[in-house]
Amino acid sequence: MLLQVIASGVLMGFVYALVAIGLTLIWGVMDIINFAHGEFLMISMYTVFWMYTLLKFDPFVSLPVAALLIFVISYLTYKIIIKRVIDAPGLTALLATFGLSLFIRNLAQFLWSPDYRFVTTSLVADKKITMGPVIIGLPQMAAAMGSIIMTVLVFYFIQKTKTGRAIQATALDRDTAKLMGIDTEKVYAITFGISGACVGVAGALMATFFPVYPESGALYSLLAFVIVALGGFGNIKGALYGGIIIGLAEALGGFAFGTQFKYAVVFLIYLLVIQVRPKGLFGW
């Protein structure tokens, strides 16, 4: 049973990481807490759901569509809203993203009703892998694989491509980045877009085994905040490891102390880790 708990915890951790990667990117590059991140996730889940319901598309088919759509939405969010608040003092950006999250969440309720919905069949639905005493659902497995692939992709993108370098440079020193001929406005918009694409992929993968409803995104974004802070803001690897740690903490904590305490354990782990590493596990 313990094995199963650990396996489930790690798998869930990968899913959390999936959500956190996009968040950490914006946070690290622009120092903005995007409270609407969860809502982007929710839109992605709805996209997949509607493509499944109306067009009978498998979630894996609609995954790129969701990623692209959220990329565009995020990109526009930057252009329309974030651009105006990024240089504002203190918590203004937070105010804006919080307002945006309220707006999107309730717009979703307005448009699609607050019902809980499910994508009932997909390539991976209801399939599972049994390894001795451990049972692993294929949808979770797919999501975990997705999160690993995405971590690697985003990591590679940031480290090795020209745009990635520009993102890094902008994160480190915006003015000097401009002197390199980098259009930092564009870099920010792209960063926001990529973050959106990440969460779009996350939403598509998660829609195969989580319910879709207007509040569904908010659930994961709170945990994603903790994961990002645990891993260190802006650190892609940190988000992955942070996710796994949180997933494990939740599973093992719930197992040991009673499941009602599982999130309390998660928050406690964060507080403990942060005492030793005040800037997160991988923070500079």
Partner: protein, 234 residues
């Protein structure tokens, strides 16, 4: 090549530079000298587009650049080596250099630039994959200049490169700049160390509390009594 007319600029509605006019001709090495707070850095920041002028005109190679965003100006051929080096400490030397070549598209051209730059600064080649923050101050300054050169600029602007460098290194970097200038690149140097800056300059301007108070060849300025007075704030 670069013409600045009646430039006024500053921060938060507070002007720092008043009505400054000067020019840089193709192939020259021009120094702007003045004590700290005179507005030298402000002028460079305006030239490279980080600040927008309150009034006045900037013309580079016949194009108005005063309303262009910074990254467009880089594409026009102006490279700005900022005060305090500002290398990307968490990134490798190579990444820093590649960032300098951000405006270039052609991979072969970038490779070519890289080779040229490594020829000028062999030290950087040795440290190619080190994080920039692990370099010494002098090496970082070299990296900053090399990074500026990567964009294949027509005009290289260097801000206060002597700041925080020990004198022996100041001399070395000055040498390198002179060499670069000799190879035909136009250089605009901003310095508070009047001696060193004017010694090597073809022409120079003296800035005092936001106003240009003297101009002439490097030698003229060094010998001019008036300049000394102005510079020392008398």
């Amino acid at each position: 090549m670069l013409k600045v007319k009646n430039l006024s600029v500053g921060y938060d509605n507070v002007p720092v530079v008043f009505d400054a006019s000067f020019e840089v001709k193709e192939g020259e090495l021009v120094s702007i000298v003045g004590s700290n707070g005179a507005g030298k850095t402000t002028i460079l920041k305006t030239l490279s587009g980080l600040l927008k002028p309150f009034s006045g005109q900037i013309e580079f190679l016949g194009r108005r650049t005063d309303r262009m965003p910074a990254h467009e100006i880089v594409k026009c051929g102006i490279a700005h080596v900022p005060e305090g080096r500002r290398v990307f400490g968490k990134m490798t030397v190579l990444d820093n250099l590649l960032l300098g070549a951000h405006t270039l598209e052609n991979q072969d051209e970038i490779a070519g630039r890289l080779k040229e730059v490594y020829d000028i600064f062999p030290r950087l080649k040795e440290r190619e994959f080190q994080k920039a923050e692990t370099l010494s101050g002098g090496e970082q300054q070299m990296l900053a200049i090399a990074r500026g050169l990567m964009s294949k600029p027509r005009l290289l602007m260097v801000d206060e490169m002597s700041l925080g460098l020990m004198p022996i290194l100041v001399d070395r970097v000055m040498e390198i700049l002179k060499e670069i200038s000799r190879q035909g690149l136009t250089v605009l140097l901003v310095e508070q160390k009047v001696q060193e800056a004017l010694e090597m300059a073809d022409r120079g301007y003296v800035l005092q509390t936001g106003r240009i108070v003297a101009e002439g060849t490097g030698k003229e300025l060094l010998e001019s009594d008036m300049v000394k007075k102005a510079y020392m704030g008398m």
